[in-house]
């Protein structure tokens, strides 16, 4: 995997421990060299990635050095740098201090506001967490990440209607996000509306025909639906068996599909 590509797509967030270690090593080795032929954009993106990698592998000393390089170049007033600083404080001194630091940032600093909300969730003030998210979304209504956070928060306190409305907002920002359609189906299923759930799962597999999660959702929703739908059930079963046979999907997904089919 190329370092620049991983930095662009934030691929380091989806790696397992072994891969992460490897990428961190690669990044350390590369950034120790001269890398003259990189553009400024790429170079600092790599430094930022290296910061996250250092935090992920638990090397806060190295993270601090990398942070210092970025702060020297961009200054601490920038929101993005402020967010990095808060993460560093979180690691070195704990979430309380990070929260204190973020509260000192100006209100117009959106990345820091978002980081503060995330910390609120972790420190356990759920009520405040939801109301802060709502306040944030009043200002930035086009942030799908925040909407989906809000949806999960509502789902956690079983406010299905609110959660569904929040996921619908995500879909307004990203109308082809098949995983969000599957999530919407799951929420409808939890709310007890199997018919709606089926139609949203179907939209998900229409957008991504190899999406095991949505196919399983269809099967579960049909079994809970009053009328049932034998034709759709047959199609879903056939497709899932095919996907299992061809091993299209992660191991966990395939194992879950086998359990659902059984």
């Amino acid at each position: 995997m190329s370092l620049v590509q991983s930095a662009e797509r934030a691929e380091y967030l989806n790696l397992n421990t072994e891969q992460l270690k490897q990428l961190h090593e690669q990044s350390t080795r590369f950034l120790a060299g001269r890398h003259y032929n990189l553009s400024d954009d790429d170079r600092y993106a790599l430094f930022e990635q290296h910061f996250y990698l250092a935090l992920l592998v638990g090397d806060s000393r190295e993270a601090e050095i990398t942070y210092q390089k970025l702060a020297d170049r961009f200054g601490e007033d920038t929101g993005r740098i402020g967010k990095l600083k808060s993460m560093l404080i979180d690691r070195q001194l704990g979430p309380k201090d990070a929260l204190m630091y973020l509260q000192g940032r100006p209100e117009s600093d959106l990345p820091c506001w978002k980081a503060r909300i995330a910390l609120l969730r972790d420190t356990g003030v759920a009520d405040l967490y939801i109301s802060e998210l709502v306040k944030y979304l009043e200002v930035v209504p086009t942030d799908p990440e925040a909407w989906s956070e809000l949806a999960e928060a509502y789902a956690a306190c079983e406010k299905w209607g609110d959660a569904i409305s929040a996921v619908e907002e995500v879909l307004l920002c990203a109308p082809l996000a098949y995983n969000m359609f599957a999530r919407l189906g799951e929420l409808y299923l939890a709310a007890g509306d199997a018919g709606e759930a089926i139609s949203h799962f179907c939209r998900a597999v229409e957008l991504c025909p190899v999406y095991i999660r949505a196919w399983c959702g269809i099967l579960v929703a049909i079994s809970k639906h009053k009328k049932g739908n034998d034709k759709l059930k047959a199609v879903a079963t056939k497709q899932l068996e095919k996907l299992i046979k061809e091993k299209k999907g992660s191991e966990g997904d395939i194992a879950a599909a086998k359990l659902i089919l059984a």
Partner: protein, 167 residues
């Protein structure tokens, strides 16, 4: 390891956050109001069209003072820049507008406002002619008009001398 969605699908949901009445999401439950715009009546449309027609008619008049000032400042010497400027500003543009005159107003004409639009057209043509008149004045300033006696020497009859003194 089984993914999280498997447990969401197969087990009953568990309440992990215990909040009785969390704040509802922004714009939740408010049905959007449908805004219906009023259809403009025939008469109002006519008024608008006539207003638009007057705008078109008076447009060349607005640039006339500027053009006059520019030609005054550019002097009356015979050089390529003042000559092309005069030709473009005072003759080419108005001529083009004259040719397409009716086309500009055609879309605004309706059976009820025909006379008013026609009035606009007449004013438009008059202003264009005035612009070209200014151009003629400018040409006169530059001495390009054949309006002096010396411009027509070919038609002058030579003087006939009654007496000639030879030395």
């Amino acid at each position: 390891m089984l993914p999280q969605w498997y447990s969401t699908l197969t087990t009953k949901p568990v309440k992990t956050l215990n909040i009785a009445n969390p704040q509802t999401p922004p714009s939740f439950g408010k049905s959007g109001k449908k805004i219906v715009s009023k259809q403009a009546s025939e008469h109002e449309q006519d008024v608008l069209k006539v207003k638009k027609a007057w705008d078109i008619a008076l447009a060349p008049g607005k640039s006339l003072p500027m053009n006059l000032f520019m030609s005054y400042m550019s002097g009356s010497s015979l050089q390529i820049i003042p000559i092309t400027m005069t030709a473009m500003m005072f003759f080419m543009t108005p001529l083009k507008s004259l040719v397409t005159c009716h086309k500009q107003f055609a879309s605004l004409i309706s059976p009820t406002n025909k006379s008013q639009i026609l009035m606009c057209e007449v004013v438009y043509v008059l202003i264009l002619l005035a612009t070209m008149g200014a151009g003629v004045w400018k040409l006169g300033q530059m001495g390009l008009l054949p309006n002096t006696r010396s411009d027509w020497l070919a038609w002058e009859t030579p003087s006939v001398y009654l007496e000639v003194v030879n030395r």
